[in-house]
């Protein structure tokens, strides 16, 4: 089983995610503010990118939200809107109805999530 998911967050995605999550930090939704603190533009929420890793792993295990038991990630780099996110992963361990998947998320050649590890219950 391989994990792969591709998604391109549109220009307004950070605004929708801010509303959905309640995280209105201006670095995510205000281009001028983001530039004033040295960022190239407004950046994606790290927890949005983590949600893409969660979705990729859950879908690979059959799509049942109950299958995802644990997910840990390290945030690196900065995710940007209007650039494709590619989540890839592979099974590290499998047995007894569970598996451990190692994954990462990149935009182009930049890793935005590294050392992701998911523990999943496999479909019976």
């Amino acid at each position: 089983m391989n994990v792969e998911l591709r998604v391109t967050p549109d220009k307004y995605l950070p605004h929708r995610y801010a509303g959905a999550s309640g995280d209105f930090n201006p670095i995510h939704i205000d281009v001028e503010f983001a530039k004033s603190v040295g960022l190239p533009q407004n950046i994606l929420h790290g927890l949005y990118s983590m949600a893409q890793v969660a979705r990729a792993c859950t879908n690979a295990a059959g799509g049942d939200p109950r299958s995802l038991r644990r997910l840990s990630v390290q945030f690196r780099g900065m995710g940007l809107p209007e650039q494709e996110i590619v989540v890839t992963g592979s099974v590290k361990e499998e047995g007894d109805g569970r598996m451990v998947v190692a994954a990462e998320a990149v935009q182009g050649d930049k890793r935005i999530i590294r050392n992701a590890e998911a523990e999943l219950e496999t479909p019976r």
Binding site: M50, A54, P65, R70, L71, S72, Q74
Partner: protein
């Protein structure tokens, strides 16, 4: 000057969040979830849920109201201008469904310093109305120049 570790072990008051069906749908749409169980009560019930389930990462929605005050606590003393979210872990228990009342408690798990950076680790534990654990989150914030 080293990081101030006095706040290690500090616990914050419980935070309650009532999970709504339309909030789940809003979150699911924002993160691109398309499994119909997140939107349709009948499909959710057919799949064995009490009501529409929340996607696992919805944990952010009901627990951040508990975690944010801990991160912003002056006794913890984080310099926000230099802070980045370094890593995150969630361990899931019982599924969360629309209509659940989730109570989250956060504590300061660790404060340490490495290579001139401060590591502030918070743990949140969320339980449903029956007292069952639904998620345990470990939130690590890194503060540059904390030395």
């Amino acid at each position: 000057m080293a990081v101030n570790q006095a706040a290690i072990g500090k616990r914050f008051p419980p935070f309650e969040y009532e999970v709504g069906k339309e909030k789940i749908a809003e979150y699911a749409r924002a993160v691109g979830e398309d499994n119909p169980v997140y939107f349709d009560r009948e499909q959710a019930r057919a799949a064995g849920f009490r009501d529409v389930p929340a996607p696992p990462m919805f944990a952010v929605v009901y627990s951040s109201g508990s975690v944010a005050p801990a991160i912003f606590d002056p006794e913890v003393g984080i310099n926000f201008a230099m802070m980045v979210h370094g890593s995150q872990e969630f361990v899931w228990g019982e599924p969360v469904c629309a209509g659940d009342l989730i109570t989250t408690e956060t504590s300061v798990k660790d404060i340490s310093e490495k290579g001139g950076m401060g590591f502030y680790v918070f743990e949140s534990v969320s339980r449903n109305q029956e007292g069952r654990e639904v998620v345990r989150g470990t939130w690590t914030n890194i503060v540059r120049g904390d030395s």
